[in-house]
Symmetry: C2
Subunit: 208 residues, 2 copies
Amino acid sequence: MPKIVDAEARRLDVVHAVFRIIASDGLERASLREVADEAGLAVGSVRHYFASSDELLVFSFGAVIDRIAGRLESAMTVVEEESPGSPEQQAAVLNLLGQFLPLDEELAVDACVWMAFRHAARIKPVLAAEAERSHRTVAAVVGRLIMLLSPGGADAQQTLVTEAERLLATMDGLCMHALLQPEWMTAEMCSDVLTAHLRSLDGVPAAR
Amino acid sequence: MPKIVDAEARRLDVVHAVFRIIASDGLERASLREVADEAGLAVGSVRHYFASSDELLVFSFGAVIDRIAGRLESAMTVVEEESPGSPEQQAAVLNLLGQFLPLDEELAVDACVWMAFRHAARIKPVLAAEAERSHRTVAAVVGRLIMLLSPGGADAQQTLVTEAERLLATMDGLCMHALLQPEWMTAEMCSDVLTAHLRSLDGVPAAR
DNA sequence: GGTGTTGAAGCACGTTCGTGCTAAAAACTA
DNA sequence: TAGTTTTTAGCACGAACGTGCTTCAACACC
């Protein structure tokens, strides 16, 4: 039988090469040749694991979604374990939302890749399904968070949806700015904006 | 003398062709050949007006910034003319913020192009200067708006900056979602999120 | 110790890209 | 009408792209 290679691990190696290229040079530079070089393989080898360029990209998109979703999920369980309204829960919420932002090297790479694929999905139909999944997954977590944080409890459904979308939009905007204008949108500014938004969650639905 | 052609108008024609291509096929398809085809010209003709592909892209980026800045500026003067706190001012503010979003065909094209160039600027150094200008220009308008809407008047400088960045992030996130997930982020949802955010502006700084 | 399956490598083909360069065409002046 | 200069068109070159297909090397099993 053939040389034994952990195919799944090798696929992940290639995917990580894709991540590095997207983060440093953009999605359009993630060609088979560049990816093979970055992974230390030949083009034919990459194509042995991924039938086509599209398959590689779709798989990479899925991988980054899984990474982000995993982080969000584990951070969310921490939030749900803390007692509502406690400072510990506040911290857990801030930590959860921080998972969206490029606060360290690993998060930055994932954020870059995530953004690049989502925008590419507007044009490339092969990526559309994963983009849908990405949106649904993240929106579900944010929705649960909003439900948990809403003081009104059984508040109007409409308000909850709106607030979830509002938080989601703010997070994506923050992520964007942190990636594109890092000199303005520092980690401190991100934190300030997040706490301001969370304060606005406490205030508004009650006042309505 | 030669055939008389309004060079500036012709450059704008080419730029509009760039816009259409970016909106429908993405920035990476905005090659000289595609642009020339879309504009109904030969590649040589496009290169007569723009020395290089880079020059064309930088000029197009600048053009879309100017369009957006112009719309924001004129909408901002309306806001400043209305009496503070009046329903007319509220409507003017909503109108101003709506200029960021792809609410009609023209706005959608500009939003697409704007997003594409800003993300491309992370990678392509030639676009960096215009990206800076874009951010400064828009941040200035949003800053003026926040200053106008803040009930505290001479509130803490820090709060104003934070709130400006928060509104900016929310707008960019809304724009992103409206472009990438139009089925979820409808015009109505945009409006709901915007009004919710504006309510949060009234409430929070006063409560602090 | 052969042997055949499989990982790895690479060639070849057709496209597309940016760009330097050369002419043809067009239109206003002399 | 002849000339001059801008506008338009197009060819040619090197580089990079995805992909079909072939070739080489290695290793587990009979």
